[in-house]
Symmetry: C2
Subunit: 300 residues, 2 copies
């Protein structure tokens, strides 16, 4: 009997979605495969729906301060909403946890979630707690609704061969600490999608080596990556920038002519934050082969 | 250090929500404490947001056919949306599971979810799979958006002393099998909230003994329960009707004058489905003391 650990996450999801009748499956931007699902609404504002889960021992060490775990859980979802050009609105929190978890830990978790929601103007509107057997890891599942102006919606799938690939900030070494306190790029993504509409965008959560092929594939393109151009955090190698994951930076494709004016405006608007050209989209057969990054099933 | 198992679920949630700054907390109908959060939108249609989680070994036995688990996971959420007077729209599915789970099980789960979504005109638009250590139970977390006509929105909190309490269908003994294949009362709730607007409504998931006090408390009332009037499934005791949980029937309060015409119309529209008056709302100090039902933390 085949076990899911023998499949990659992406092919598992493809196989699971095949089980759902076509009539019960969202299509296009309201389907699986982007940072969020886009729900068409009348008027200029569209809706985004997103869920994200974290598992104790995989997404945080058990000895991590609970409030930082809470911050991260919410910030990850805000990062996905930002990557579509959107703003976070309502959040629902589901906790599955053993009865031996301390009340202090649980309240710390909520304090961190509340802090992050407040910082980004979002609200908690519900959720659920349910009990797991002793020994099971705590699972935190967050669901959120965001909104996005129709003309700012940025999918992964509209990149074109010839577009340049850019990344915000620096990559690698997130596990040092940064993955617990990062600031999702809401302001940067909002500015970018208003001023210089990227053709495709996503946030980097599983590492460039896993995420870039997803963006390229969604756009029906290959990708060429200039390894020497990768912006590295201090003491990080190129390998780390490719594979560590949890950078929560924006990766986007944009037509080549826009890049010079974009970089000039960016440097004025966000002088503290690097913006680097790291490669380009190309025809599929001309693309580099990239492998690595974080796969939720293959890796142990 | 106090453990969460020593708190009831409701008081744990209250304590957790205290940690969230007021600005980051939904209020009123867009807050925690009802079957769904209601998100105000312009126009006649409002939005509902809901999350619900199931844990292997608690909400289903490991030897249950996967497709029935999938049906149940989706149907529970549809039941919550129906209990607000709404219709289900988009669903996101989060799975946290060990790598040893078979691909067959996972595809069966999605087949069941797809079947239920299709049956109720809803769509799967995304989700996530994430891996848990071996030995951890499978956790399924479902998030959904529903819609509801403004005049049909029915909260738990608007019941009045003197309202009669009614319940659809029969209660007790769900664990025999019924909890895996039930049909959420979408059509019944839609009809009810159009024709005879209840003052308060919820679905019965944790058992009448746990759920009725929640409806009464939310409405600032007490409740008197006529135990002899409880509609029982075959071979079920009153104790089971109170405590088994997972009935997924509608419990609602409605002004006493509406009950006779309601029952007459109901019998024509839903001749197969019982509708029973089981008690009334009253002033807090006159209410019965009910305890029992399903508490996600206290019970083992």
């Amino acid at each position: 009997m085949d076990e899911i650990r023998n499949m990659g996450e992406d092919s598992l999801i493809d196989k699971l979605l095949e089980q759902v009748p076509a009539a019960a499956l969202g299509t296009g931007a309201a389907g699986a495969g982007d940072d969020c699902a886009v729900i068409e609404a009348d008027g200029d504002v569209q809706q985004l729906l997103k869920t994200d889960a974290m598992v104790e021992g995989r997404h945080w060490d058990p000895d991590t301060e609970a409030s930082r775990v809470g911050w991260k859980a919410v910030a990850r979802v805000i990062s996905d909403i930002a990557a579509m050009g959107g703003r976070p609105e309502e959040f629902l929190v589901t906790l599955a946890l053993p009865g031996s978890v301390s009340v202090d830990w649980a309240t710390g978790l909520y304090r961190g979630m509340g802090k992050c929601l407040e910082a980004f103007g979002a609200r908690m509107v519900g959720g659920e707690t349910t009990r797991c057997p002793e020994g099971a890891p705590v699972v935190i599942s967050i669901a959120a609704r965001g909104v996005v102006n129709r003309e700012q919606v940025t999918l992964r799938s509209e990149g074109k061969a010839g577009d340049l690939l850019l990344v915000t900030g620096k990559l690698g070494g997130s596990l040092e600490e940064r993955h617990l306190d990062f600031l999702p790029r809401v302001e940067e993504a909002d500015w970018l999608t208003r001023q210089f509409k990227p053709t495709a965008m996503m946030d980097l959560s599983d590492g460039l080596a896993a995420d870039l092929p997803r963006l390229a594939r969604a756009s029906g393109c290959g990708a060429k990556l200039d390894h020497s151009a990768l912006p590295l955090h201090a003491n990080c190698s190129i390998e780390q920038a490719l594979n560590d994951g949890e950078d929560y930076e924006l990766l986007f494709a944009i037509d080549a002519d826009s890049v010079a004016p974009l970089r000039e405006s960016w440097a004025k608007r966000f002088p503290e934050t690097a913006l680097s050209v790291i490669g380009s989209l190309c025809e599929i057969e001309e693309g580099d082969t990239l492998s690595g990054g974080w796969d939720h099933f293959r890796k142990d």
